[in-house]
Amino acid sequence: MESTEKILEIKHLKKEFDNTPVLNDISLDIHKGEVVVVLGPSGCGKSTLLRCINGLEGIQEGEILLNGDLISNQKKSMHLVRQHIGMVFQSYDLFPHMTVLDNILLGPKKAQKRKKEEAAAEAEELLKRIGLYEKKKAYPRQLSGGQKQRVAIVRALCMHPKVMLFDEVTAALDPEMVREVLDVMLELAREGSTMVIVTHEMQFARAIADRIIFLDEGNIVEESGPEEFFTNPKTERAKQFLNIFDFDSVHHGSNK
Protein backbone atom coordinates (compact mmCIF):
# COMPACT_ATOMS: atom_id res chain seq x y z
CA MET A 1 0.00 0.00 0.00
CA GLU A 2 2.97 2.20 0.56
CA SER A 3 3.91 4.58 -2.17
CA THR A 4 6.74 6.98 -2.64
CA GLU A 5 4.58 10.09 -2.51
CA LYS A 6 5.52 12.02 0.61
CA ILE A 7 2.54 13.39 2.49
CA LEU A 8 4.41 14.77 5.45
CA GLU A 9 8.03 15.78 5.71
CA ILE A 10 9.58 16.75 9.01
CA LYS A 11 13.04 18.25 8.69
CA HIS A 12 15.36 18.83 11.61
CA LEU A 13 12.54 19.75 13.95
CA LYS A 14 13.52 21.21 17.30
CA LYS A 15 11.04 22.02 20.00
CA GLU A 16 11.67 23.53 23.42
CA PHE A 17 9.45 24.40 26.34
CA ASP A 18 11.01 27.25 28.34
CA ASN A 19 14.48 26.39 27.10
CA THR A 20 14.06 22.72 27.96
CA PRO A 21 14.49 20.77 24.74
CA VAL A 22 11.62 18.35 24.12
CA LEU A 23 12.39 17.30 20.57
CA ASN A 24 15.91 17.39 19.13
CA ASP A 25 16.52 17.38 15.45
CA ILE A 26 13.69 15.10 14.41
CA SER A 27 13.60 14.22 10.71
CA LEU A 28 10.89 11.98 9.42
CA ASP A 29 9.02 11.40 6.16
CA ILE A 30 5.57 9.92 6.03
CA HIS A 31 4.38 8.48 2.75
CA LYS A 32 0.93 8.19 1.36
CA GLY A 33 -0.92 5.22 2.79
CA GLU A 34 1.68 4.58 5.42
CA VAL A 35 0.91 3.83 9.06
CA VAL A 36 3.64 5.06 11.37
CA VAL A 37 3.47 4.21 15.05
CA VAL A 38 5.46 6.35 17.45
CA LEU A 39 6.50 4.54 20.62
CA GLY A 40 8.51 5.61 23.59
CA PRO A 41 8.45 6.12 27.35
CA SER A 42 6.23 8.86 28.73
CA GLY A 43 7.78 12.27 28.44
CA CYS A 44 9.80 11.30 25.39
CA GLY A 45 8.03 13.91 23.28
CA LYS A 46 5.78 11.69 21.17
CA SER A 47 2.57 13.62 21.90
CA THR A 48 4.46 16.86 21.38
CA LEU A 49 5.56 15.63 17.97
CA LEU A 50 1.92 15.17 16.92
CA ARG A 51 0.97 18.54 18.37
CA CYS A 52 3.77 20.19 16.41
CA ILE A 53 2.59 18.57 13.19
CA ASN A 54 -0.90 19.93 13.79
CA GLY A 55 0.41 23.35 14.75
CA LEU A 56 -0.93 23.22 18.29
CA GLU A 57 2.67 23.90 19.31
CA GLY A 58 5.09 26.16 17.53
CA ILE A 59 8.57 24.85 16.77
CA GLN A 60 11.92 26.52 17.35
CA GLU A 61 13.91 25.10 14.46
CA GLY A 62 13.39 23.03 11.36
CA GLU A 63 10.34 22.76 9.18
CA ILE A 64 7.29 20.63 8.55
CA LEU A 65 5.87 20.22 5.05
CA LEU A 66 2.49 18.85 4.04
CA ASN A 67 2.39 17.81 0.38
CA GLY A 68 5.45 19.93 -0.16
CA ASP A 69 3.97 23.09 1.39
CA LEU A 70 5.55 24.57 4.47
CA ILE A 71 3.07 24.35 7.37
CA SER A 72 5.16 24.86 10.49
CA ASN A 73 4.81 28.12 12.41
CA GLN A 74 2.12 29.43 10.04
CA LYS A 75 0.08 31.38 12.57
CA LYS A 76 -2.38 33.04 10.22
CA SER A 77 -3.27 30.18 7.94
CA MET A 78 -2.92 27.34 10.41
CA HIS A 79 -6.68 26.76 10.51
CA LEU A 80 -6.59 26.08 6.77
CA VAL A 81 -3.73 23.61 7.18
CA ARG A 82 -5.55 21.81 9.97
CA GLN A 83 -8.45 21.06 7.65
CA HIS A 84 -6.11 18.62 5.94
CA ILE A 85 -4.78 17.04 9.12
CA GLY A 86 -7.16 15.02 11.25
CA MET A 87 -6.35 14.65 14.92
CA VAL A 88 -7.93 12.56 17.65
CA PHE A 89 -6.93 13.21 21.25
CA GLN A 90 -6.68 11.12 24.37
CA SER A 91 -9.39 12.98 26.27
CA TYR A 92 -12.92 12.54 25.06
CA ASP A 93 -13.09 15.75 23.18
CA LEU A 94 -16.53 15.83 21.60
CA PHE A 95 -18.43 19.08 21.98
CA PRO A 96 -20.87 18.30 24.82
CA HIS A 97 -23.58 20.72 23.74
CA MET A 98 -24.00 19.19 20.29
CA THR A 99 -25.45 15.92 19.07
CA VAL A 100 -23.18 13.31 17.54
CA LEU A 101 -24.16 14.38 14.04
CA ASP A 102 -23.66 18.09 14.76
CA ASN A 103 -20.25 17.31 16.23
CA ILE A 104 -19.23 15.64 13.00
CA LEU A 105 -20.74 18.32 10.77
CA LEU A 106 -19.31 21.39 12.49
CA GLY A 107 -15.97 21.19 10.68
CA PRO A 108 -17.32 20.35 7.20
CA LYS A 109 -20.04 23.03 7.45
CA LYS A 110 -18.17 25.89 9.09
CA ALA A 111 -14.51 25.33 8.23
CA GLN A 112 -14.92 23.80 4.78
CA LYS A 113 -18.22 25.52 3.91
CA ARG A 114 -19.62 22.33 2.47
CA LYS A 115 -23.31 21.83 1.82
CA LYS A 116 -25.12 20.46 4.82
CA GLU A 117 -26.96 17.70 2.93
CA GLU A 118 -23.86 16.40 1.25
CA ALA A 119 -21.77 16.44 4.45
CA ALA A 120 -24.62 14.93 6.48
CA ALA A 121 -25.01 12.09 4.00
CA GLU A 122 -21.31 11.32 4.32
CA ALA A 123 -21.39 11.60 8.10
CA GLU A 124 -24.32 9.20 8.30
CA GLU A 125 -22.54 6.77 6.04
CA LEU A 126 -19.46 6.89 8.28
CA LEU A 127 -21.60 6.46 11.40
CA LYS A 128 -23.21 3.38 9.87
CA ARG A 129 -19.80 1.92 9.26
CA ILE A 130 -18.75 2.28 12.87
CA GLY A 131 -22.14 1.00 14.01
CA LEU A 132 -23.30 4.21 15.64
CA TYR A 133 -25.85 5.42 13.11
CA GLU A 134 -28.72 5.09 15.58
CA LYS A 135 -26.80 7.35 18.00
CA LYS A 136 -26.61 10.26 15.58
CA LYS A 137 -29.04 12.36 17.60
CA ALA A 138 -27.55 11.39 20.97
CA TYR A 139 -25.46 13.78 23.03
CA PRO A 140 -21.90 12.82 23.96
CA ARG A 141 -22.77 12.23 27.61
CA GLN A 142 -25.10 9.44 26.53
CA LEU A 143 -22.23 7.57 24.90
CA SER A 144 -19.60 5.31 26.38
CA GLY A 145 -15.95 6.33 26.22
CA GLY A 146 -15.29 3.98 23.33
CA GLN A 147 -18.28 5.28 21.39
CA LYS A 148 -17.13 8.86 21.94
CA GLN A 149 -13.70 8.08 20.59
CA ARG A 150 -15.17 6.37 17.54
CA VAL A 151 -17.30 9.44 16.89
CA ALA A 152 -14.21 11.62 17.34
CA ILE A 153 -12.45 9.55 14.68
CA VAL A 154 -15.40 9.96 12.31
CA ARG A 155 -15.44 13.69 13.03
CA ALA A 156 -11.82 13.91 11.91
CA LEU A 157 -12.41 11.62 8.89
CA CYS A 158 -15.33 13.61 7.61
CA MET A 159 -12.92 16.45 6.84
CA HIS A 160 -11.13 14.20 4.30
CA PRO A 161 -7.74 14.70 5.92
CA LYS A 162 -4.57 13.83 4.08
CA VAL A 163 -3.13 12.39 7.25
CA MET A 164 -4.68 11.33 10.55
CA LEU A 165 -2.92 11.81 13.89
CA PHE A 166 -3.92 9.67 16.87
CA ASP A 167 -2.63 10.81 20.24
CA GLU A 168 -3.02 7.92 22.72
CA VAL A 169 -6.68 7.63 21.83
CA THR A 170 -7.26 4.55 23.97
CA ALA A 171 -5.26 5.61 27.01
CA ALA A 172 -8.27 6.94 28.94
CA LEU A 173 -10.59 4.08 28.01
CA ASP A 174 -11.75 1.10 30.02
CA PRO A 175 -10.00 -2.02 28.73
CA GLU A 176 -13.10 -3.55 27.17
CA MET A 177 -13.65 -0.43 25.08
CA VAL A 178 -10.14 -0.24 23.73
CA ARG A 179 -10.79 -2.93 21.18
CA GLU A 180 -13.70 -1.24 19.42
CA VAL A 181 -11.63 1.88 18.90
CA LEU A 182 -8.57 0.01 17.70
CA ASP A 183 -10.74 -1.98 15.27
CA VAL A 184 -11.88 1.25 13.64
CA MET A 185 -8.25 2.30 13.26
CA LEU A 186 -7.26 -1.08 11.79
CA GLU A 187 -10.10 -0.71 9.30
CA LEU A 188 -8.78 2.70 8.28
CA ALA A 189 -5.29 1.30 7.87
CA ARG A 190 -6.63 -1.45 5.61
CA GLU A 191 -8.28 1.15 3.44
CA GLY A 192 -4.97 2.87 2.96
CA SER A 193 -5.31 5.91 5.19
CA THR A 194 -2.12 7.72 6.07
CA MET A 195 -1.80 7.63 9.83
CA VAL A 196 0.59 8.63 12.59
CA ILE A 197 -0.27 6.88 15.83
CA VAL A 198 1.04 7.40 19.34
CA THR A 199 0.00 4.48 21.50
CA HIS A 200 0.91 2.27 24.43
CA GLU A 201 -0.88 -0.76 23.01
CA MET A 202 2.09 -2.82 21.88
CA GLN A 203 0.15 -5.68 20.26
CA PHE A 204 -1.84 -3.17 18.32
CA ALA A 205 1.26 -1.25 17.26
CA ARG A 206 2.78 -4.44 15.97
CA ALA A 207 -0.35 -5.31 14.03
CA ILE A 208 -1.05 -1.93 12.45
CA ALA A 209 2.34 -0.35 11.86
CA ASP A 210 4.20 -0.22 8.59
CA ARG A 211 6.99 1.43 10.49
CA ILE A 212 7.82 1.97 14.14
CA ILE A 213 9.53 5.12 15.34
CA PHE A 214 11.02 4.77 18.80
CA LEU A 215 11.54 8.08 20.56
CA ASP A 216 13.48 8.67 23.73
CA GLU A 217 14.34 12.00 25.32
CA GLY A 218 13.36 13.85 22.20
CA ASN A 219 15.45 11.81 19.77
CA ILE A 220 14.54 9.14 17.27
CA VAL A 221 16.47 6.24 18.75
CA GLU A 222 15.28 3.56 16.43
CA GLU A 223 13.28 3.31 13.25
CA SER A 224 12.32 -0.06 11.84
CA GLY A 225 9.58 -2.37 10.67
CA PRO A 226 7.27 -3.72 13.39
CA GLU A 227 8.43 -7.32 13.29
CA GLU A 228 12.03 -6.30 13.49
CA PHE A 229 11.40 -3.80 16.26
CA PHE A 230 9.48 -6.18 18.46
CA THR A 231 11.50 -9.32 17.90
CA ASN A 232 14.95 -7.93 17.43
CA PRO A 233 15.35 -4.32 18.53
CA LYS A 234 18.62 -2.79 17.47
CA THR A 235 19.26 -0.52 20.43
CA GLU A 236 19.69 -1.23 24.10
CA ARG A 237 17.19 1.52 24.96
CA ALA A 238 14.48 -0.10 22.86
CA LYS A 239 15.17 -3.48 24.45
CA GLN A 240 14.80 -1.95 27.89
CA PHE A 241 11.59 -0.28 26.86
CA LEU A 242 10.06 -3.45 25.46
CA ASN A 243 11.05 -5.38 28.57
CA ILE A 244 8.64 -3.36 30.67
CA PHE A 245 5.80 -4.96 28.77
CA ASP A 246 6.96 -8.49 29.52
CA PHE A 247 6.15 -9.98 32.86
CA ASP A 248 7.73 -12.97 34.48
CA SER A 249 4.91 -15.20 35.53
CA VAL A 250 4.37 -15.59 39.24
CA HIS A 251 3.56 -19.19 40.06
CA HIS A 252 1.07 -19.94 42.74
CA GLY A 253 2.56 -20.93 46.00
CA SER A 254 6.06 -19.75 45.22
CA ASN A 255 7.82 -17.34 47.49
CA LYS A 256 9.17 -14.12 46.23
Partner: protein
Protein backbone atom coordinates in the same frame (compact mmCIF):
# COMPACT_ATOMS: atom_id res chain seq x y z
CA UNK B 1 -64.01 46.08 68.67
CA UNK B 2 -61.09 44.29 67.23
CA UNK B 3 -59.77 45.73 64.00
CA UNK B 4 -58.74 43.02 61.59
CA UNK B 5 -55.26 43.55 60.15
CA UNK B 6 -56.41 42.57 56.71
CA UNK B 7 -58.58 45.68 56.52
CA UNK B 8 -55.39 47.73 56.38
CA UNK B 9 -54.97 46.85 52.73
CA UNK B 10 -58.31 48.44 51.91
CA UNK B 11 -57.76 51.66 53.83
CA UNK B 12 -56.87 54.63 51.66
CA UNK B 13 -54.28 53.80 49.02
CA UNK B 14 -52.41 51.30 51.16
CA UNK B 15 -52.59 48.40 48.74
CA UNK B 16 -51.56 50.50 45.75
CA UNK B 17 -48.76 52.10 47.81
CA UNK B 18 -47.31 48.71 48.64
CA UNK B 19 -47.36 47.74 44.99
CA UNK B 20 -45.73 51.05 44.10
CA UNK B 21 -43.05 50.28 46.67
CA UNK B 22 -42.62 46.88 45.10
CA UNK B 23 -42.17 48.51 41.73
CA UNK B 24 -39.39 50.70 43.16
CA UNK B 25 -37.67 47.57 44.47
CA UNK B 26 -38.10 45.70 41.22
CA UNK B 27 -37.06 48.57 38.98
CA UNK B 28 -33.90 49.36 40.96
CA UNK B 29 -33.00 45.67 40.94
CA UNK B 30 -33.80 45.35 37.27
CA UNK B 31 -31.69 48.33 36.19
CA UNK B 32 -28.78 47.16 38.35
CA UNK B 33 -29.11 43.60 37.07
CA UNK B 34 -29.11 44.59 33.41
CA UNK B 35 -26.07 46.85 33.76
CA UNK B 36 -24.33 44.22 35.92
CA UNK B 37 -24.82 41.45 33.39
CA UNK B 38 -23.44 43.60 30.61
CA UNK B 39 -20.45 44.90 32.59
CA UNK B 40 -19.95 41.55 34.32
CA UNK B 41 -19.48 39.74 31.01
CA UNK B 42 -16.80 42.24 30.05
CA UNK B 43 -15.21 42.02 33.52
CA UNK B 44 -15.25 38.23 33.37
CA UNK B 45 -13.47 38.24 30.02
CA UNK B 46 -10.89 40.69 31.37
CA UNK B 47 -10.41 38.54 34.47
CA UNK B 48 -9.67 35.60 32.19
CA UNK B 49 -6.77 37.38 30.50
CA UNK B 50 -3.32 36.10 31.32
CA UNK B 51 -2.07 39.63 32.02
CA UNK B 52 -0.89 39.88 35.66
CA UNK B 53 -1.87 43.56 35.98
CA UNK B 54 -5.49 43.11 34.93
CA UNK B 55 -5.59 39.97 37.05
CA UNK B 56 -4.47 41.84 40.16
CA UNK B 57 -6.71 44.87 39.61
CA UNK B 58 -9.86 42.85 38.95
CA UNK B 59 -9.07 40.55 41.85
CA UNK B 60 -8.73 43.48 44.25
CA UNK B 61 -12.00 44.97 42.98
CA UNK B 62 -13.80 41.67 43.47
CA UNK B 63 -12.41 41.08 46.95
CA UNK B 64 -13.16 44.65 48.02
CA UNK B 65 -16.78 44.43 46.93
CA UNK B 66 -17.18 41.00 48.49
CA UNK B 67 -15.65 41.88 51.83
CA UNK B 68 -17.66 45.07 52.28
CA UNK B 69 -21.19 44.51 53.52
CA UNK B 70 -23.63 45.95 50.98
CA UNK B 71 -24.97 48.26 53.66
CA UNK B 72 -21.56 49.82 54.20
CA UNK B 73 -21.19 50.30 50.47
CA UNK B 74 -24.57 52.00 50.35
CA UNK B 75 -23.63 54.38 53.17
CA UNK B 76 -20.26 55.00 51.57
CA UNK B 77 -21.81 56.03 48.27
CA UNK B 78 -24.92 57.79 49.60
CA UNK B 79 -23.35 59.74 52.48
CA UNK B 80 -19.62 59.56 51.76
CA UNK B 81 -19.59 60.58 48.10
CA UNK B 82 -22.21 63.24 48.63
CA UNK B 83 -20.30 64.88 51.49
CA UNK B 84 -16.82 64.50 50.08
CA UNK B 85 -17.38 65.49 46.48
CA UNK B 86 -20.50 67.61 46.95
CA UNK B 87 -22.36 65.55 44.44
CA UNK B 88 -25.96 65.13 45.30
CA UNK B 89 -26.97 61.57 44.68
CA UNK B 90 -30.51 60.47 45.34
CA UNK B 91 -31.03 57.27 47.29
CA UNK B 92 -32.27 55.55 44.15
CA UNK B 93 -29.19 56.47 42.13
CA UNK B 94 -26.88 55.49 44.99
CA UNK B 95 -28.67 52.17 45.23
CA UNK B 96 -28.30 51.51 41.52
CA UNK B 97 -24.61 52.40 41.67
CA UNK B 98 -23.92 50.12 44.62
CA UNK B 99 -25.93 47.21 43.32
CA UNK B 100 -24.31 47.56 39.92
CA UNK B 101 -20.85 47.55 41.48
CA UNK B 102 -21.74 44.48 43.48
CA UNK B 103 -23.55 42.72 40.66
CA UNK B 104 -20.75 43.42 38.19
CA UNK B 105 -18.17 41.95 40.56
CA UNK B 106 -20.19 38.81 41.23
CA UNK B 107 -21.26 38.41 37.62
CA UNK B 108 -17.67 38.93 36.47
CA UNK B 109 -16.52 36.14 38.74
CA UNK B 110 -19.27 33.86 37.43
CA UNK B 111 -18.31 34.60 33.82
CA UNK B 112 -14.64 34.05 34.63
CA UNK B 113 -15.45 30.75 36.30
CA UNK B 114 -17.66 29.59 33.44
CA UNK B 115 -15.08 30.51 30.82
CA UNK B 116 -12.19 28.88 32.62
CA UNK B 117 -14.23 25.75 33.29
CA UNK B 118 -14.26 25.03 29.57
CA UNK B 119 -11.46 22.47 29.21
CA UNK B 120 -8.47 23.31 27.06
CA UNK B 121 -9.14 20.36 24.81
CA UNK B 122 -12.39 21.93 23.68
CA UNK B 123 -10.36 24.74 22.11
CA UNK B 124 -7.90 22.24 20.68
CA UNK B 125 -10.59 20.01 19.21
CA UNK B 126 -12.04 23.07 17.55
CA UNK B 127 -8.64 23.92 16.13
CA UNK B 128 -8.11 20.34 15.01
CA UNK B 129 -11.16 20.49 12.74
CA UNK B 130 -9.84 23.63 11.13
CA UNK B 131 -12.01 26.29 12.77
CA UNK B 132 -10.72 29.83 13.17
CA UNK B 133 -10.38 31.35 16.65
CA UNK B 134 -13.58 33.33 16.14
CA UNK B 135 -15.52 30.24 15.03
CA UNK B 136 -14.25 28.30 18.04
CA UNK B 137 -15.67 30.96 20.37
CA UNK B 138 -18.90 31.30 18.44
CA UNK B 139 -19.80 27.63 18.05
CA UNK B 140 -18.00 25.90 20.90
CA UNK B 141 -16.96 28.13 23.78
CA UNK B 142 -19.77 30.69 24.09
CA UNK B 143 -22.67 28.20 23.87
CA UNK B 144 -21.10 26.08 26.60
CA UNK B 145 -20.27 29.12 28.75
CA UNK B 146 -23.82 30.46 28.53
CA UNK B 147 -25.26 27.12 29.55
CA UNK B 148 -23.05 27.04 32.63
CA UNK B 149 -23.66 30.68 33.39
CA UNK B 150 -27.41 31.17 33.21
CA UNK B 151 -28.46 29.18 36.30
CA UNK B 152 -25.76 30.91 38.34
CA UNK B 153 -26.61 34.34 36.99
CA UNK B 154 -30.28 33.85 37.82
CA UNK B 155 -29.43 32.99 41.39
CA UNK B 156 -27.43 36.19 41.57
CA UNK B 157 -30.45 38.13 40.29
CA UNK B 158 -32.70 36.79 43.06
CA UNK B 159 -30.03 37.61 45.63
CA UNK B 160 -29.83 41.14 44.29
CA UNK B 161 -33.61 41.60 44.41
CA UNK B 162 -33.71 40.46 48.02
CA UNK B 163 -30.78 42.58 49.08
CA UNK B 164 -32.40 45.76 47.76
CA UNK B 165 -34.45 45.75 50.98
CA UNK B 166 -31.35 47.37 52.53
CA UNK B 167 -31.95 50.60 50.66
CA UNK B 168 -34.63 51.51 53.21
CA UNK B 169 -31.69 52.64 55.27
CA UNK B 170 -30.66 55.33 52.83
CA UNK B 171 -34.18 56.65 52.68
CA UNK B 172 -35.47 55.12 49.49
CA UNK B 173 -39.16 54.45 49.75
CA UNK B 174 -39.43 50.93 48.44
CA UNK B 175 -41.72 48.12 49.40
CA UNK B 176 -40.36 47.54 52.91
CA UNK B 177 -40.37 51.25 53.67
CA UNK B 178 -43.96 51.62 52.54
CA UNK B 179 -44.84 48.72 54.76
CA UNK B 180 -43.14 50.38 57.73
CA UNK B 181 -45.03 53.59 57.10
CA UNK B 182 -48.36 51.81 57.02
CA UNK B 183 -47.52 49.91 60.19
CA UNK B 184 -46.45 53.11 61.96
CA UNK B 185 -49.61 54.91 60.97
CA UNK B 186 -51.89 52.20 62.24
CA UNK B 187 -49.96 50.97 65.23
CA UNK B 188 -52.62 52.06 67.70
CA UNK B 189 -55.67 50.98 65.73
CA UNK B 190 -54.30 47.71 64.41
CA UNK B 191 -51.84 45.95 66.71
CA UNK B 192 -51.42 43.04 64.27
CA UNK B 193 -50.41 45.36 61.41
CA UNK B 194 -46.77 44.30 61.27
CA UNK B 195 -47.69 40.65 60.90
CA UNK B 196 -50.09 41.36 58.07
CA UNK B 197 -47.97 43.86 56.23
CA UNK B 198 -44.65 42.07 56.54
CA UNK B 199 -46.38 38.80 55.77
CA UNK B 200 -47.71 40.33 52.60
CA UNK B 201 -44.30 41.74 51.68
CA UNK B 202 -42.78 38.32 52.25
CA UNK B 203 -45.38 36.97 49.85
CA UNK B 204 -44.55 39.66 47.26
CA UNK B 205 -40.84 38.85 47.35
CA UNK B 206 -41.76 35.23 46.93
CA UNK B 207 -43.96 36.04 43.91
CA UNK B 208 -41.08 37.93 42.29
CA UNK B 209 -38.23 35.55 43.09
CA UNK B 210 -39.86 32.14 42.92
CA UNK B 211 -40.53 32.09 39.16
CA UNK B 212 -36.95 33.23 38.56
CA UNK B 213 -35.60 30.40 40.73
CA UNK B 214 -37.85 27.90 39.00
CA UNK B 215 -36.68 29.08 35.61
CA UNK B 216 -33.08 28.59 36.66
CA UNK B 217 -33.73 25.10 37.97
CA UNK B 218 -35.56 24.21 34.78
CA UNK B 219 -32.82 25.48 32.48
CA UNK B 220 -30.20 23.72 34.53
CA UNK B 221 -32.06 20.44 34.29
CA UNK B 222 -32.64 20.73 30.59
CA UNK B 223 -29.06 21.58 29.82
CA UNK B 224 -27.65 18.92 32.05
CA UNK B 225 -29.71 16.33 30.21
CA UNK B 226 -28.38 17.76 26.97
CA UNK B 227 -24.88 17.53 28.25
CA UNK B 228 -24.23 21.26 28.51
Amino acid sequence: MQDLGINLFFQGRNFVRILEGLWVTVSISLIAVIISIFLGIILGMVMNLKNPVTKAVTRIYLEFIRIMPQLVLLFLVYFGVTRTFHINLSGEVSAIIVFTMWGTAEMGDLVRGALSSIPKHQYESGKAIGLTGFQIYLYIIIPQTVRRLIPLAINLVTRMIKTTSLIVLIGVVEVVKVGQQIIEASRLTTPTASLWIYGFIFFLYFIVCYPISRLSAKLEKRWVSMGG
